[in-house]
Symmetry: C2
């Protein structure tokens, strides 16, 4: 099963771990992306996330298909992405994968976060500490989709 979600609620790592746990599996690997208190030398107070939701879920589904092709032993996949304001130390994304043996889940989680950064249409902007204002909405630095696609479809 693929458990995919975009939500304005706080992400609970323990719950997402429970979601993918399965009696046939000896391994769960997780990646948690959190808001860091600095960016380009400036103090960050929180990050804001926006998504093109239908397309984001479609792309997340596609990443799951690709993971299951590469690691057929995978049992469950959870990818939860938070939208809106995410304060420092809190999670913006949690990826969890269960598998009978550990290598599949470890490798698949690494693959999933790399792909997610490259291909899922989620934008973020930094809210800096007093006097430093906000950054512009921006795609992930690793993003590979074309700017023209975004211009014509979303922004």
């Amino acid at each position: 099963m693929n458990y995919l979600k975009l939500t304005f609620d706080k992400l609970e790592v323990g719950e997402i771990n429970e979601l993918v746990a399965h009696e046939s599996c000896g391994a769960i690997s997780l990646f948690v992306g959190t808001t860091r208190d600095n960016f380009d030398g400036k103090t960050v107070v929180l990050l804001q996330y926006e998504a093109y939701e239908a397309m984001a879920l479609k792309t997340m589904n596609h990443i799951c298909d690709e993971m299951r092709l590469r690691w057929p032993d995978i049992k469950h996949i959870g990818i939860h992405h938070r939208l809106g304001m995410v304060p420092v130390k809190e999670a913006s994304v949690v990826i969890a994968v269960s598998s009978p043996h550990r290598n599949a889940s470890l490798e698949a989680v690494h693959f999933a976060i790399d792909e997610l950064k490259k291909s899922v249409p989620v934008w973020k902007k930094e809210q800096y500490a007093d006097g430093e204002g906000c950054s512009e909405w921006k795609e992930n630095r690793e993003c590979t989709w074309s700017k023209s696609y975004k211009d014509s479809h979303i922004l």
Copy 2:
């Protein structure tokens, strides 16, 4: 900080994630080893774990040192190992690593569970479903320490 623990209590993945979270970090990677419902074709009801506790903690500390040498950006490491009875689907070990950027934590967690399986003196035995009994206490199959060491020190 290294948060190392051997405990007879249930491991809470959410709590261990919180333990290693840090405002300077954008990434937390976790590995959760869980009890699988089968082993060598037999139905497993639970696993039992025993450790040579002082030596296990010393070895876990050594693994942390090695991780910090290889990935100097690592902020916090948590390694919690459960002892006693661990039912199917529950965690016997949780490893969590925080780092400013994701590659360090992803690679370090993979390294840590591989090293832990090889070198930490923890034994387990399977409790099988009715009529199938118990296995013998045994070291991890990947274990590299010598049988003679174990014979003379523990069993």
